[in-house]
C-alpha cells in the first residue's frame, strides 16, 4: 500500500455550471489510463481480420491508385511538378489519420458507454485515445510514403524539420473537431449518420486530389481556414519540395485548428457532466 498513502486526496463534489477548460493536471494524473485505452484500441482494431494491420496501408494506397487513374490520368490534374501518385499519397497519409481518427473519436463516447456509466476519469481520455491509437496506422502509411519517395528518387527539403509540428497540427485538428462531434453524438445519434458524409465533403474541400495552387491569391491563403489545407500542403512542402510553398497558409491553418480545439474542449467540458446520464 506504499503508493496509496503518499498523497492524501481531497475531492470536493458539487454541481458545476457554465464553461470550463480542460483540467490538464488531472489528465496528466490519468496518463496511464490514456496509455492503456490507446493500447487497447490498437490491439483490438485488427483482431479477427485476415490481413490484419495491412488494412492501415491498403486504404490510403488504393485511394491513391483510384485518384491517380481518374484525376491524374483522365482529368490531367496539375500536381505542382511532382509525379501525381506520390503527390496524392503524401496528402492521403495525414488525411487518412484525420478521417479515421475523427470518425472513431466521434463514436468513442457511445461505444465506451459502459465505462462512462461505471467509472470516473477525465472523459476527454476517450476521444483522445481513439485519435492517438491511429498513430500506428499513420506510421505504417508513412513508411510506405518513404518507400515511394525512395522509388521516385525524391529527397526531402530542409523544410522537413517542420514535419513533427505538422503532425501535431493534424492531431489538434482531429481532436478539436472530434470533441465537438463526440459531445453532440452523446446527446443525439444523428451525428454518427452525418459524419461519413461530412468527412467526404471535407475531403473534397481539401487539396488532396488537386493542388491548392489552383486558387489565386489571396484566396489560396484564405483557404487555410480549413486546417487540413495547411496540413496537406505542409506535408507536400516538407517532404516533396513542391514548387509552390504554402507559406502563410500553414499559419492560418494552425490558428484555425487552435480555435477549433479550444472551442471543442470548452464545449466538451460543458456537455461532459451529462454524459453518464444521457448516453
Amino acid at each position: 500500500m506504499a503508493e496509496t498513502t503518499t498523497d492524501t486526496l481531497h475531492i470536493h463534489i458539487k454541481p458545476t455550471g457554465g464553461w470550463r477548460g480542460i483540467d490538464f493536471v488531472e489528465v496528466w494524473k490519468y496518463r496511464e489510463l490514456l496509455y492503456f485505452l490507446s493500447w487497447r484500441d490498437i490491439k483490438v482494431r485488427y483482431k479477427q481480420t485476415v490481413i490484419g494491420v495491412a488494412w492501415a496501408i491498403i486504404q490510403p494506397l488504393f485511394t491513391m491508385v483510384v485518384f491517380t487513374l481518374f484525376f491524374g490520368k483522365l482529368a490531367k490534374m496539375p500536381s505542382d511538378g511532382i509525379p501525381y501518385p506520390i503527390f496524392s499519397y503524401a496528402a492521403l497519409v495525414p488525411w487518412s489519420f484525420f478521417a479515421s481518427g475523427l470518425s472513431d473519436a466521434s463514436s468513442s463516447l457511445v461505444s465506451n458507454a459502459n465505462l462512462i456509466k461505471k467509472i470516473y476519469f477525465p472523459r476527454i481520455l476517450i476521444p483522445l485515445s481513439a485519435i492517438l491509437s491511429k498513430g500506428i496506422d499513420f506510421m505504417l502509411a508513412f513508411l510506405v510514403l518513404l518507400v515511394m519517395m525512395f522509388c521516385y528518387g525524391i529527397v526531402p527539403t530542409a523544410a522537413v524539420i517542420w514535419l513533427p509540428l505538422l503532425c501535431l497540427l493534424v492531431v489538434i485538428t482531429s481532436l478539436g473537431v472530434g470533441l465537438w462531434f463526440t459531445a453532440m453524438n452523446a446527446q443525439f445519434r444523428d451525428v454518427q449518420y452525418a459524419i461519413p458524409f461530412f468527412i467526404q465533403v471535407w475531403m473534397f474541400a481539401t487539396p488532396i486530389a488537386y493542388p491548392s495552387s489552383l486558387l489565386k491569391e489571396p484566396w489560396r491563403t484564405l483557404y487555410g481556414i480549413n486546417p487540413m489545407v495547411g496540413v496537406v500542403e505542409g506535408f507536400r512542402w516538407a517532404l516533396l519540395g513542391i514548387n509552390t510553398p504554402p507559406g502563410p497558409i500553414i499559419f492560418i491553418s494552425a490558428l484555425a485548428a487552435f480555435i477549433i480545439l479550444i472551442s471543442g474542449a470548452l464545449y466538451f467540458r460543458r456537455m461532459e457532466k451529462t454524459f453518464a446520464d444521457v448516453i
Binding site: 486526496l9 481531497h10 496511464e32 490491439k43 465505462l115 461505471k118 443525439f188 460543458r270 446520464d277
Partner: protein
C-alpha cells in the same frame, strides 16, 4: 484533517426520464412543429444546453436532501428497495454523475466498484484485461504487475491467462473480473452489489475478501440486497427510501427494521388475482392462495409441526390444459430460499387439468421455525412459462408442540426435524447397539 472520510450535505439528484406529451390542436401546428423542432434542438445543442436539447421534461428526484457522514475505517451498508437511490448515491460519490444540488467531500483515495469487469474487452487475453481493467479502476501499472500473480491465483484461471476472454466461461469471466476488483487497495471503497457473482463457493470467497478489507481498517460503503452481507460486513447501515434517508444506525437494527417494513409494505398485500407484475404466457393463472389444516379447515397461520395444505386456485385460458407442473419456493425474511416444493420432483405433474380448480400441496409436520415466510409461485404448461408470481404471498408460522413433549419449539436454527437422543457407555464403538 478530521476523522471524516466521506461527508455529504443535502445532496439531491434529479433525473430526466421522459417527455411530457404536448397536445396539438391543429394539423398545421403538428406540421410546423415537426419542421421547427430539429432546428430548435440543434441550436440548443450547440449552445451546450444538453438538457433542453434532450427535450426530456419529465423529471424524477432520485435523491432528495441526503446528508451523511462516514468516518475513516468504518464500513457502512446502504440498503433500500430498487429505485431508492442507492446506486445514484454511489455514482455521485464516485463522480460519475453530478448532484443537482448539494455538495460533498471525500478525504482519501477512492476506488469505486459499481460493476466488476468494467471495460473488459472480449478480444483481449486474460492478462491484457487484468492490466486494462486495473488501469480503469485506477491502479498504477506497477501495482498491477506486483499483484498480478495474486489476482490470477484468486481467480483460478492460470491455464487460460493468455486466452482471449471471449473463450472464457461466464464463471471464469466473472471470477477474473472480481479478482481484479478485489485487489484494488484504496483507502475508501465504494461497492455496489458486486458480491452477487459466481457460484456459492466463489461468493463465499468474495465475502471473505470483503470482510478482510473491512478489517484492514479501510473505509467501505457497500450497497447490497444481501442482508446477511450487510450485517456481517458493516457496523452501520443507512436505509434509503425513495431518495430520502429513512433510518440510520447499527446495521443489525436497521436491517431488522427494513425487513419488517418489507414484510409490511410488500406486494403480497395485493390479492393474487389482481396482481399485474406476473410473467408468463397466461395459459394458466393463479387466482388465490390459502392455507388449511389436514381436515380442510381454513387457517390463518401454520403451527410448527402440524400438517398443512397450501391451496392455490387457478383458471386456464382453454377448457383443459395438459402437462402442468407447479412449484413454489419458501423464502425467509432475510431473503434466503429455504424450500422448493415441486410437483415434478415428487412425480406428480398434472397430465390434464380442467378450466379451473385448486392445486393442493400437503406438507406433513411443517418443518420451519416460527417466523414470517414469503412464497414465490410458478406453474409451467408444456414446459412454457404459464404463470410466475414472485412474492406471491406471505404466511406466518407460530410456535407449536413439534416434538409432542408439551414444549414449544425454540427460535434457534431455521429447520425443525424429528430427532432422538440416547446414551451409549462406550464411545469407541458407536455401532455396538446395532450388533
Amino acid at each position: 484533517m478530521s476523522n471524516i472520510a466521506i461527508k455529504v450535505e443535502n445532496i439531491s439528484k434529479q433525473y430526466r426520464i421522459g417527455t411530457l406529451k404536448a397536445r396539438y390542436s391543429t394539423f398545421r401546428d403538428t406540421l410546423s412543429d415537426a419542421f421547427k423542432t430539429p432546428f430548435r434542438k440543434a441550436a440548443e445543442l450547440l449552445r451546450g444546453q444538453a438538457y433542453a436539447a434532450s427535450g426530456l421534461t419529465k423529471t424524477k428526484w432520485a435523491l432528495k436532501n441526503l446528508s451523511l457522514e462516514v468516518r475513516h475505517g468504518e464500513a457502512v451498508g446502504i440498503i433500500g428497495h430498487n429505485g431508492a437511490g442507492k446506486t445514484t448515491l454511489l455514482k455521485i460519490l464516485s463522480r460519475i454523475t453530478e448532484p443537482t444540488t448539494g455538495f460533498g467531500d471525500i478525504y482519501g483515495r477512492v476506488g469505486s466498484l459499481l460493476e466488476v469487469g468494467t471495460g473488459f474487452h472480449p478480444e483481449l487475453t486474460g492478462r491484457d484485461n487484468i492490466y486494462l481493467n486495473g488501469a480503469i479502476l485506477g491502479m498504477k501499472r506497477l501495482e498491477i504487475t506486483r499483484k498480478f500473480d495474486e489476482i490470477v491465483d484468486f481467480a483460478g484461471v492460470e491455464e487460460f491467462i493468455d486466452t482471449p476472454v471471449k473463450f472464457y466461461s461466464s464463471g471464469m469471466h466473472m471470477r477474473l473480473a472480481f479478482a481484479v476488483a478485489a485487489h484494488l487497495e484504496t483507502e475508501i471503497l465504494l461497492v455496489d452489489e458486486v458480491l452477487a457473482v459466481g457460484d456459492v463457493a466463489f461468493q463465499k470467497k468474495c465475502l471473505n475478501k470483503m470482510s478482510s478489507v473491512t478489517h484492514q481498517g479501510r473505509t467501505v460503503l457497500l450497497v447490497s440486497h444481501n442482508m446477511e452481507a450487510i450485517m456481517g460486513l458493516c457496523s452501520r447501515a443507512i436505509w434509503l427510501h425513495q431518495g430520502e434517508k429513512e433510518d440510520e444506525g447499527p446495521s443489525q437494527q436497521i436491517v431488522k427494521r427494513y425487513l419488517s417494513s418489507y414484510v409490511e409494505r410488500g406486494v403480497w398485500q395485493v390479492p393474487i388475482a389482481e396482481r399485474t407484475d406476473r410473467v408468463g404466457a397466461g395459459s394458466i393463472r393463479f387466482t388465490g392462495f390459502r392455507l388449511q389444516d389436514k381436515d380442510g379447515n381454513p387457517i390463518d397461520c401454520i403451527v410448527a409441526g402440524e400438517t398443512v395444505d397450501f391451496v392455490f386456485s387457478y383458471v386456464c385460458k382453454d377448457e383443459t390444459v395438459g402437462n402442468v407442473t407447479v412449484w413454489f419456493w419458501i423464502r425467509d425474511d432475510l431473503g434466503r430460499d429455504l424450500l422448493c416444493l415441486w410437483s415434478r420432483k415428487t412425480g406428480q405433474d398434472f397430465e390434464k387439468l380442467p378450466k379451473k380448480g385448486e392445486l393442493i400441496c400437503r406438507i406433513p409436520r411443517f418443518p420451519l421455525r416460527p417466523n414470517k415466510y414469503i412464497i414465490d409461485l410458478k406453474a409451467d404448461v408444456n414446459n412454457v412459462h404459464g404463470d410466475r408470481l414472485p412474492d406471491a404471498a406471505l404466511f406466518e408460522v407460530v410456535a407449536g408442540d413439534f416434538y409432542g413433549t408439551g414444549r414449544s419449539v425454540s427460535d434457534l436454527g431455521i429447520f425443525l426435524c424429528d430427532h432422538s437422543w440416547r446414551y451409549s457407555e462406550n464411545s469407541s464403538s458407536p455401532n455396538k447397539e446395532n450388533k
